[in-house]
Amino acid sequence: MAIISRSDRRPQARRSTVPGTAQEAKGDLVMAQSLPNHEKAKHVLETKGLGIYYGDFRAVTNVNIPIRRHKITAIIGPSGCGKSTLLRAFNRMNELFTGTSIEGEVLFDGENLYDSVVDPVEVRYRIGMVFQKPNPFPKSIYENIAWGARIHGYRGKMDDLVEACLRQAALWDEVKDKLKQSGLALSGGQQQRLCIARTLAVQPEVILMDEPASALDPIATLKIEELMQELKKNYTIVIVTHNMQQAARVSDFTAMMMLTDREAHSGTVIEYDDTKVIFTNPKDKRTEDYVTGRFG
């Protein structure tokens, strides 16, 4: 069964629960989220021979990595090696650029995300994304969360959903008295947590984060990192970061990317391992040079 095929879409019936609550367990969820844990594979996402093209240019070559459920996976590597491109391949975001194509497979709960019957819009709310620059809607804090849930057919009590999402994003205490205020009036760190709360509102399984803290000050950065540790109990997180200390602090697994083919300027994952191994005793000399700052 294609778990996220168009034929499975029942938006009006799907969302009536608050994420991260007991109510969720009883909710009417039609997708893999509703599978009992023991039936879920250890790897929520997995790439097989993944190559990504912008037109004729192959930006990423032959990536084979698993993404473990309820873990944080960091993708590190020098600029221009295809980290963000790889991240965007996990929720078909690359397709928003014309001329993009892929080879190989990205398996989500064992099913190919790029199968012709799969709806990319469906993919993107099952696998949410948080960007480098906080980008809240120019609406109230409340609406930032309610809006997405509403158009995705959430039919439960909206106040409860907004509160649950803001609490999970560790923002509730700071904004509970000003929910009608514009999301743009918040500080950068708060805006980023609002964007995370907004992602949670549509009950994703995986949250992709592209440099989520690079525009934030150190305290706001640490808040996001702490939040990630909380979120991984219920979600799987994949983060792209240039900050190696951040990757070392927050992630469980690390994928090191590097340009391998100088002629084609194509990036690939050269080493994938437990984060502790990558930062204390990497196997690949290029990873060693990169994490010790001798390279890139």
Partner: protein
Amino acid sequence: MTTYSRTEDAMLRKTFENEIQQVKDDVLLLGSMVEQAILSTVDALKKRDIKASQEILNADKLINKKRFDIEHKLMILIATQQPMAHDLRLLASCMEIISELERMGDYAKGIANINIRMGDAPLLKPLIDIPRMAQKGVDMLHRALTAFVNEDVETAQRIPVEDDEVDALYNQIYRELMTFVISDPTTMERANWLLWVGHNLERVADRVTNICERTVFIATGEMTEIKSTDDEFWKQQKNGS
């Protein structure tokens, strides 16, 4: 799009690499201070030179100070440079190695104190094996520190085996001193002093093994105990085989 290579960016962390080199030099300097202290303290004992032993006590203060200075430098490097992988293993291991060296300095100081406490009492016997133990221990230490700076895994793994020679010398001293005590119990105190000297020197060689283990860890990332054949000997003794 830019490509990178180590050759192009070899100077990327020049300042940090210079600081790492400085730390290695400091560890070697501390090591030579300790080597000197061990040889001098045994020499002072052999010659019953109390004044020289008092100088060893002062030298130990310098060793301790040097250790704290290096530790402080290491802390600053770790905090400011956030070392990873090989750099992290090296700096963390230096922390351990300077602690081992400082303890070896304490053994030299312990021997100096014994010489001072012996006062006018003559040596129970002329010192033959004790200077040999000191020489062997210092030789092992010197080569262990060379292996450390060169990250020479093969040598680092070979040195601990030589600990058996030091242990054999210690056992010989023990047997000899016991013979004195049995034949004349009034020699008990003087025998005990020399036994302590032997024990301190035996511990020096044990700590050289720890330095060798750190060297292997820095180079390979593997934290393993290097066993000397002596370990097997004691195991067999324990099992009664």
